[in-house]
Homo-oligomer: 483 residues x 4
């Protein structure tokens, strides 16, 4: 099969009988026709169409070593710096197609699966670990161009440091039994973006200090597995009109809670189970972080370019580029954009081969970028609101422009350099990006993409080698020795 | 008539035949039944009901000097510091009823009208000025408890410093003619909150450097005056459910563009016209700023208390009060709240009688507060999002809690100290306040309530007496004179 | 004796034989002639001279209830709001004389002693407590116009949360014995500003969670008590020239480490000892915080006025007042200044009588002010540096202006509105305030005046009543109850 | 001659008879013995010694194409990316030797001179331009290892936008005549760091909008040219003791005003004169910015490493690494450091050959870095002060540790992990870096190194290509076209 096109994606996704709940109702198939999902599914289909365009085939795909078919480039296991650049270009092209707004474009989880397969060595010979299952999951995913969501955040009952779950009924998903056929999982996970809208769902434990064996596992199962239930939040699609809601009508990636109602996970789907040490170490030692953050930063750079474009378009529309404080605000975006680009380049420049022979981007620049972006993205949004100012509030709709009052709007809302309708379009775009429910969720999403920012900073502090500076201080102090 | 109750308000507002457009359609009466307006109109009705509750009558009303009926306290022209306190308490009670979320609760424009009437002396003997019209507008408004919107922002065609409108057809509303019956107005104004939903609309020129005589005027006319047209933006009412959208379902104050299609303004409604000097000076010299900002800061303090309550409720719900960085964030809100309260108190403490014998709150503390709030309000919103974190994203709906999956939700979304439904309620409240389209508009509204923050700071700099410090520096330098 | 003048102060301070060490040498008397202390002692003398000026006597002093002589107003135990205002005015006048730069002007510790005397009731009947000693200390201080320093910071060996001192030899000062004559104290305290330059030193324990009985005490002893040793830091007096160092030559308050080398504290000097409960509670329950912070905020307001004056003087000197970003920076100082003033006023407005009949300023506004000032003071300093820009760096000296190159300086350094020498004077003042070792220490001093800012915020969070907001949220949620 | 060692540098600098004024006196030779200059000159001598160490000769020097002697690597005109890396390594090694604290280490102006020589083509055939003089200046400097200062800031009489100098006597240095021997220059320049302490001084006009022909010139003359006068500011050398003032005793680069008292500039020293177009364009088009900023950023990275080392050393000394807010502060430094490093690497990665065949680092990443550093450097200083807290204030001196009270200090000032003397050393280092007059000047120096930050941001805004983002917005809007 190899890399699929949009129609194949649509066919496959509509064929499944996944249990998805939205606003108190179970969704009826085909999901691609449901208002809450339609725009997103079309956008994803267009990504798949893009990858099989003949003129892009070399850029977007590579030859599968097993099937010899062309498969998606985001599945490429890089062995050279050139491979890293290939991956980046593919990721960038998909991001550009969706303005960086799809946090869960398929290449994200393709990369996760690929990174797991690079690190099977870490599981060799460990108790309850199935490195061969990882390899076969990877090959199955790559050669069939499967799409995934994943879920690792446990319910937020109590965020106090001293909290342990004590009830009889599990809340966080855990192993409650096992049979000859597989593990039995019961409980919930808090957050799966695009939950129910992908072929499979990858479930794993995030590293935590106090993890019980029953919470330590990883597996991937089809979204329509019996007992698996996706409970969506309210949809933030503002409506069908791409004039009114140019972004939410196309890029709203709904989030869902995932419930495991005694789900049977077949053994062949299990990557490991009941091994707390592996649950702790696999994510910190494997290729997961370098490859995944490399994908994320690439996308976030494209999103930053887009936000810069929106900000500058507002500036030109209402002619405010002459003000120093406006120049400073746009310069702020430029500075963050170039910083992110430089850090991404440096991660490739300083890439090194790992023990398994894969070329890992250097983690420090990526970690730094992942400390920066959650802080600057909300600021970009604020800058756009500060430039648009009171003009962001009273925006007419598509139907207004088709009604009897259209001439009023055409006359009174004209901009310095643009007719009224174009001006309203760019302001609606800015509004949908930063002030609609969709836009606000985008901001929150980027703010927490890499977890709690306070902890990220602490992690960076602890993992950073400070010898160079400490050495200079020693030298300064020894010169300063009392004579 | 005097102070009205909710039913009288509803009856009057439904009786009018105002031209309101929403999403390409002209609104059919009665407007109180239209989804986009229903919640707001009910909320306003409840304010009117409150003021005539017998036990609150003394607090909420005073005796009209002309009709001897009880009339709304926000119409009181203060002559003592005690009067200022009475006004503040009334304003605060209404604000508390609506959590400070109604920027255009009736007391706001009541205060504006009242402040104009305090300063008629400034118009005495000036060309094209009708101080008696102001007085009669004030008495009519007070004794009939009229409600108002106002509009003063001109279309934002070009915000460059060097821009002048040059076309044949006016864009910004201006006087295009006058007859024995009144002035003829043509053009638009950008923004009227609750436009079309009030008895009258007060139209005046904001002070600007380059104002032509035809743009220099002030008048108040009924909302259903012929040729007057309100074009609403998209409604941000998320839906009827007060569970899902606890705030937008009740407090969404729609904004509108106001079009004057050769509107005849009868002479008795005209306050002044074609006098650019008065247009420049009335707002800076009249009682407008001290009384109006006094009302606004009172409301913003209540809103801050509410936002503090929401933040603290989140903290308690997910038990994060032990973290220093959480404590710092809440302390930030407390510091701003107490600062605003101290500045309001100081404005009353330092109040002085003006030349007409009215007790004006001191303007400097109010000006300072109006420089602070637009910066801290968006930060409150950010703090709430930072505390709620990823928990702000995946929130089920009222119908989810009524469906077959209710038991899942009840179990998996329970909080440390609360059942799931209560936890979801408080998170939905926090979301609606800060992340819905309604919430984002609230933030933008407060950010620009007092105009461009950069210019506000410049205004404060220029108007502030710096002698005390300059004197100390002179003394320090003279001591430092070379011997 | 009563309120003293400058000469009496000088005479007394030079008479003592206090053990003071500076740069490896024991200071020889008279200390008022030593370069490191001369400017400060003169400045303090001028404060004492001020208080006995006949025309200020009413403002600066009151009649001692015991001696009937005029005594310093900072010793007044306030029983009315008017008394609070009297205290404030006296404090303000002294602060104005020293531009708010003397953190330890005598009124500071006078206020501390006075506040202790207001709260003797809290010690009545408690073990090892001597409320009468407090009263007699207060009367002695007031009626003889004694000056004090105090010291409460223990050595900073290890700031980890889990640290306890374990060595044999005490590091932090503690009770190592007691005789019929008094307590024996051994160990050190980290920081006493003006240590050795006052009549007495007040020593007490700051509240801490894990305090041993031997560390729980309070007493006041003469600075020249045997075994008491003050080890000064390097002096930051830049030189004698008030042209070159207009501030450090007059206001440098040297800091010192205090060593107790088996000091005998006579029983009549002991306020309490070996009572950890009192050590914990006296400072939180007594009048200490409200009266002391009231003094501090009054001084910090004057200092802010001075810094505003310096900033505005720079602006006028180099003509940059037309720039929006300069206006914003000065407005920032104005906003902080007015905020502090409003909070101080509110603390008096909301003052209440305590159980002993003393009028305490409301603590919340003071606590808020004490959370604000440590953050804004360093920003004022930064703003002054940003306005002065590269002009802060190359500043000639007094002797340059007296030398052969004076004409060059006069010509090339002239400012828009001022001759070169005046321009250099104001820049040197700005430099000494913010960029000399003296200025940098001033900034650090204000930053830490109220202790660790992170903990101050936590303390405010915990002590603040949040009911009003929580109540509104409850109301909002109950309205939002599912129908 | 080629690359010199320290003794040759000392000999040459002491031989000159430069007119230097300090505190009203003309400095007597040899300058290397004067307290204000001694430390700096020794530090520079040690840099020269380093470059001729046999084992570093390859790294620090290259073969002069004219003399075939080894000459300093900072004079290398790069033609490949590898050349850029060689330059960077040399610059880095010198910076490391001086902890990045010497803003005017010789490689800075060597680079400037080298960059001019790369761009002589821009002067070919232009009026009053002498490209061959640039080439010979470059060769002379390189082959004799000359050291330079430069000066381009005009006196700050009035910074208002509308200011023009009108007096008869020039204030800003200008051409007042010309003879067969050369130009006559009269007037002043504001700021030359190390003015008078180098072989020559390079004088040129910075680009400005309103430049008269008489102000448009560039030349380099020996520091002891007749009529040339350097007026130093007060020295910030705290004293000789490297214990007390570990940095100012070695790295204080004094600043001076430069006066031209009818100085004759021989024609062979003139690079161009009276050509305002060249004055405007040479700096923006030549290799000046890319090569110079490349040097500066390399040094600032080393300085950042050093400041990180100081901060971390404080953290370890007083054991506060466990606190989240401390971790966040250090992480802030790390993030800035890695950002600067990534931008520097990217400037080399994206380097391109210019029209003259020289390999220029890409300017955008360098421009971004030069917008970042002036903001983060003062924050590093603040972070160090926040970590040191009250411990930064009361620091004993070298002589204290040699006196009778040494045992007290040894006992009471011991740190968790270090003896008292070491703890005091590291705190004094932190103090000298951030709180001494030397440290405060360092901060101001970095803040203004690249000129007014507000204008830098504006420049970045205007020069940055925004097409990528604008293109995405166009695409988003065209998809959003009304159907």
């Amino acid at each position: 099969m190899g890399a699929i096109n949009g129609s194949e994606f649509l066919r496959r996704i509509n064929q499944m009988d996944t249990e998805i709940w939205l606003d108190g109702e179970r969704i009826k198939m085909p999901i691609s026709e449901r208002a809450a999902f339609r725009g997103l599914i079309q956008s994803k289909a267009s990504l798949y169409d893009l990858q099989v365009q003949p003129e892009l085939l070399d850029e977007m795909t590579f030859e599968s070593p097993t099937t010899k078919e062309r498969v998606g480039m985001s599945y490429l296991q890089p062995r050279t710096k050139d491979d890293l650049a290939k991956r980046r270009k593919m990721i960038e092209r998909w991001a550009r197609q969706s303005y960086g707004l799809l946090g869960r474009s398929p290449d994200y989880l393709n990369t996760v699966i690929m990174s797991f397969a690079c690190s099977t060595a870490l599981m060799e010979g460990k108790e309850n670990c199935f490195p061969t299952h990882i390899q076969s999951l990877y090959e199955r995913a790559r050669d069939n161009d499967l799409s995934f969501t994943h879920t690792f955040i446990t319910p937020q009952v109590n965020r106090s440091q001293a909290y342990f779950e004590t009830g009889d009924e599990p809340i966080a998903a855990r192993i409650v039994g096992q049979t000859k056929d597989g593990l039995i999982i019961k409980g919930a996970r808090l957050l799966a973006t695009q939950g129910g809208l992908t072929d499979e769902v990858l479930v794993f434990s995030s590293p935590s200090l106090f993890c019980e064996p029953e919470e330590a596992f990883a597996f991937s199962i089809p979204s329509d597995t019996k007992g698996l239930r996706f409970i969506c939040r309210e949809s933030f699609v503002g409506g069908d009109s791409s004039f009114n809601h140019p972004l939410s009508s196309r890029f709203e990636e709904i989030d869902s809670i995932v419930v495991f109602d005694n789900v049977l996970v077949p053994w062949e789907c299990v990557l490991f189970h009941q091994n707390t040490e592996v649950a702790m170490n696999f994510f910190t030692s494997s290729a997961f972080h370098p490859f995944t953050i490399h994908q994320v930063i690439t996308r976030q750079i494209v999103k930053t370019e887009f936000m810069l474009g929106v900000a500058e378009n507002l500036v030109q529309t209402i002619h405010v580029g002459e003000y120093l404080h406006i120049q400073e605000k746009i310069a702020e975006i430029i500075i963050s954009l170039e910083t992110m680009k430089a850090l991404l380049d440096k991660s490739e420049l300083d890439a090194t081969l790992d023990a398994s022979g894969y070329m890992r981007p250097s983690i420090i620049p990526l970690q730094v970028a992942s400390n920066i972006y959650p802080k600057v993205n909300p600021r970009f949004s604020e800058i756009i609101q500060l430039i648009g100012a009171s003009g962001m509030v009273t925006l007419p709709t598509e139907r207004d422009f088709q009604s009897a009052i259209a001439p009023d709007l055409a006359h009174y809302l004209q901009a310095a350099t643009k007719p009224a309708e174009e001006r309203v379009r760019i302001f609606r775009l800015a509004w949908d990006l930063t002030m609609s429910a969709f836009g606000a969720r985008q901001t929150q999403y980027e703010r927490y993409f890499f977890g709690d920012p306070v902890r990220s900073a602490g992690h960076l502090y602890r993992s950073y080698a400070k010898d160079t500076g400490m050495g200079m201080v020693d030298s300064a102090l020894s010169l300063a020795k009392r004579k």
